[in-house]
Symmetry: C2
Subunit: 336 residues, 2 copies
C-alpha cells in the first residue's frame, strides 16, 4: 500500500510537507501542493488509505458541521447526530463554521484528518459544485438542510418555500391582505426560498407586496427588534407578519408589545423553526415547525449505513404550520 | 521508546487487545486488562508516549465535556471553548455526558485517545477523588463549574451559594418574608450550594423556611411548570420565588400567568444563569448572571497555557444579580 514516505521519497519533499498537503493543513505553496498531489495520484495513494486514518478508525466517531453551537436550531441538530452516534457506539466530533466557506472546508478537512469519515454537513456558504466535489470524494458525507441536485441521494433537506407559502395562505384565508416578512440578511438558499414562498402566495391571491413590507434582519434578537422598529417607523403598514425564524418573531413581538401593539388582535405573527420551549413565548407562537431533530437523525443514519440507493431522489421534508396564539383573523382598524 | 507492539510481544496478547486496553475502548476482561497494564508499566510505557497520540498531535484540538448540547448554558460554554481554540488554531472536539459518571469517563477517554489532551471538563457526576485522579494523570485537563479542593489550581467555578444568598437577601430587603425555591431534582453540588445560600439568608434574617416552599423540579420546562402547579395547589403560600435556573423561572412564570397570578405584583421571581436572549421573557427576568462564557474562556486558556501556578487557589467567580422586571416590593394582599 502506498505511503506518505514513498511520496516524500519520490518528490524529494520532507514528510512534514507531504503530510500538510495530504491532510490539507498548514501552508504549502500551490506549486508544491500540485507536485505532491500528482505524485500521490501516480502511485495510487488516496486519503482513504492514509495510515493516519487507519489508525484513528479504531475509535469510531461521527462528525457534524454547523453554523454556530449556541443557536438552539444547531444545538438540536448536533444533539440528534450525537444520539445516533451513541446508538452506534460513536462519539461526536463537532465543528462550527460561522456560515463561512473557508471555515466549512476547514471543518471538513479537520474531521477527515481525524479519521472521522461519517459527516453530517450543514453548509450554507460552500457552492453546490464544491459540495458535489466533497460528496464524490468522500462517500460518507451527507448534506443536511441543503439540496444539491447532482448528489441529491446524499441530501436531507426542507422545502422552506412550501412552508412560507402555506403560512402566507393561512393569513390570507383569515382576511389579511397587507402581510410583511422579516427575512434573513445573510444571502443563502433559505433566504431566497422562504421569501419566494411568501411572494408566490401573495401573487397567487392577486396581492401586491410593497417593498417596505420586507425587512432584512441581522443575526439574532437585535435583527428582529430593528425590523419591528423599522415597520413601526413606517406606521406599521401591515396587519400580519412572517418571520424567517422564531428568534426574529420573538424579538419583534416584544418590541411591538412594548410599543403598545396588541398581538395578535392588532398584528398576527408567524415564526419558523419551533425549536424553543414554548415557555419562552407569550402569546404562544404560531410557527412553521422545522423537524430538524428527525432530519438530523435521518442524515446521521444515512451517513452510517451508506444506503443511498434507498432514496435516489434524496429526502425532502416539509414544515408543518403549528397553530398557537399569535395569529388572529383580520379585524378592521376601528374594531381594534 | 516502548511501543504497543512490545507489550503485545511480552504479554502474548494481540495488538488489537493491547490497543483496547491502552486506549480504554471496547471490552476486555479484567484479568487481561490488569496483565497488559502491568506489562506496560514494567517497560515504562505511558499513554503520553503512545504513538497514536503523537501522530494525532499534528492536528491540534481542544476538547470539551458537557451535560447536553441542546441546553443554552452548555452550548454557550462549548462555544467559548471553541472560540479560544480557534484563536490558537485548534478545532473543537465535543462530548456530552448526560450527567452520568460512566459517560463522563468515556468522554474523557475518547478525547485523550484522539490525541486531544487539552480538555475543559464540566463534570457533575464523577466524584471529587475521580476528578483529582484524572487531573493528576493528565496535566492539561481543567475543571469548570466544579471546585475540587485537592486540584483547585485546575478549577474555574462559580460560588452559587453567594448568588442565592444575595438574591434572597434582596427579596427580604423588599419586604418579602415567605420566599420559595424551585430547586433541581438531580443531586449535585449546585443543587446543594444554591439551596444553602437561600436557607442561610432566610436564617440570618430570622425567617423560617416551610418544607412546602421548596420544590424539586425535573429537567427543563416541565419541571418549572409542575413546581408552579404544586405551589398553586397549596394556595400559593409564597410572595417571592427563586428558581434554580431561568428555564424553571420562565416555565413557572408562564404557568402562574396562565392561572391569573400577576408577575411581579403578586409574585416576584428571580432566575439563575442569564444565558438566554431577553426577548424570551415577559416580564423581563430578574436573574443571577452565571458568567459562563467568560469562565469557559478562562478554563480553555488555562488548559492551553498550563499556567496553574498563577492561581494556586483556583479561579472562583461570583454571580451578579441583574435587576429587570420580574421582582417588585412586597405588597399586602389587599393592595394587589
Amino acid at each position: 500500500m502506498p505511503t506518505l514516505k514513498e511520496i516524500a521519497e519520490i518528490t524529494g519533499y520532507s514528510m512534514a510537507t507531504v503530510s500538510r498537503v495530504i491532510n490539507r493543513q498548514g501552508h504549502v505553496s500551490e506549486k508544491t501542493k500540485l507536485h505532491i498531489e500528482k505524485a500521490a495520484k501516480e502511485i495510487g495513494f488516496t486519503r482513504e488509505n492514509n495510515n493516519r486514518l487507519k489508525i484513528n478508525s479504531g475509535t469510531p466517531s461521527i462528525g457534524v458541521v454547523i453554523n454556530r453551537i449556541s443557536s438552539p436550531f444547531y444545538s438540536l441538530l448536533a444533539q440528534s447526530v450525537e444520539e445516533v452516534g451513541r446508538e452506534h457506539n460513536r462519539h461526536l466530533m463537532l465543528c462550527s463554521s460561522g456560515y463561512d466557506a473557508n471555515e466549512e472546508q476547514k471543518a471538513i478537512d479537520f474531521l477527515l484528518s481525524h479519521g472521522c469519515r461519517h459527516i453530517v454537513l450543514h453548509s450554507k456558504a460552500l457552492s453546490d459544485s464544491a459540495l458535489e466535489g466533497i460528496c464524490r470524494q468522500h462517500s460518507d458525507v451527507v448534506l443536511i438542510g441543503r439540496h444539491v441536485e447532482a448528489v441529491q441521494e446524499r441530501c436531507v433537506w426542507l422545502d422552506s418555500q412550501a412552508g412560507t407559502y402555506q403560512a402566507t395562505q393561512h393569513l390570507i384565508n383569515l382576511g389579511h391582505r397587507r402581510i410583511g416578512f422579516i427575512n434573513l440578511a445573510f444571502d443563502c438558499d433559505d433566504k431566497h426560498n422562504r421569501l419566494a414562498g411568501y411572494i408566490n402566495a401573495m401573487k397567487d391571491n392577486g396581492l401586491m407586496v410593497e417593498p417596505d413590507w420586507v425587512q432584512n434582519a441581522d443575526w439574532v434578537e437585535v435583527g428582529g427588534r430593528n425590523a419591528a422598529r423599522k415597520l413601526l417607523s413606517q406606521g406599521l403598514p401591515v396587519t400580519a407578519l412572517l418571520a424567517f425564524n422564531d428568534v426574529y418573531a420573538a424579538s419583534a413581538l416584544r418590541e411591538f408589545q412594548s410599543r403598545g401593539v396588541q398581538i395578535p388582535s392588532q398584528l398576527s405573527i408567524i415564526g419558523f423553526d419551533d425549536v424553543m420551549p414554548q415557555c419562552y413565548f407569550s402569546p404562544a407562537l404560531t410557527t412553521l415547525k422545522y423537524p430538524i431533530a428527525v432530519m438530523a437523525r435521518k442524515a446521521a443514519l444515512l451517513s452510517l449505513t451508506g444506503n443511498y440507493a434507498q432514496f435516489p431522489q434524496g429526502q425532502c421534508y416539509y414544515p408543518t404550520l403549528i397553530h398557537r396564539e399569535s395569529v388572529a383573523p383580520y379585524q378592521h382598524e376601528h374594531c381594534v
